[in-house]
Symmetry: C2
Subunit: 130 residues, 2 copies
């Protein structure tokens, strides 16, 4: 599928549900990096709740830096990805994870909804809800 | 809570998570009408996936008409409401329902994510993902 998406096709010909299902499949396989590598647009913008320094990451470099920081700071024991749920050029995925913060040693469960917006086959916005 | 929300307070002073949790509590109690009666803004706009006649309902009268049509056309056997998940002035809820379409007799399970946007304590947009 990623090869197909390298083509420059218009919004209307992109099958949002196929992209959404691929994202869920990658997450279930633990291949979170591949989601970004395959689908992040250069201009992707990512929103986390709250006011922290990573609440808004604008552009693929900033979003990748956040992702790499998070991956480095946490050990993932297990996780699930449910969905996708689709509407127009957007879809949502529910992620749960059992993780340990490597610095604090704290182990906790995450349960979040991710809302992705697609344009020309790429994620141009991701927004996380806790 | 609904009394408090009758006051005209600004966006910053509205506790989105409290509204979100109230919406989930009302849904769990089966009081779906009360969600709209309490929280729909006069200018609420509601988006369903697809191209049907009710894909976009603009204004509280249109949204209420959709809701009343749906309630009249379906028998709800059971349901769940999970969440809320919050980010800024938006929150999401996951609804599942076991329903029968009264016209066709078809019984089916629904599983959807609702994305609500709040302004001044009211739902100004709702967007459903299937």
């Amino acid at each position: 599928m990623s090869d197909e998406l390298d083509d420059d096709f218009g919004e209307e010909s992109v099958d949002i549900r196929a992209i959404a299902e691929h994202v869920v499949a990658l997450a279930r396989a633990g291949e979170f990096e591949a989601i970004g590598d395959t689908y992040w647009d250069e201009e992707v913008i990512s929103f986390e709740p709250g006011e922290g320094p990573m609440a808004v990451c604008d552009g693929i470099d900033a979003v990748r830096a956040k992702s790499e920081w998070w991956s480095g700071a946490h050990e993932i024991h297990s996780g699930t990805a449910e969905g996708p749920w689709v509407n127009g050029d957007q879809f949502t995925v529910r992620f749960t994870m059992d993780v340990t913060n490597k610095d604090s040693g704290e182990r906790f469960k995450m349960d979040e909804i991710a809302l992705y917006t697609i344009e020309d086959g790429r994620i141009i916005e991701e927004r996380f809800f806790y």
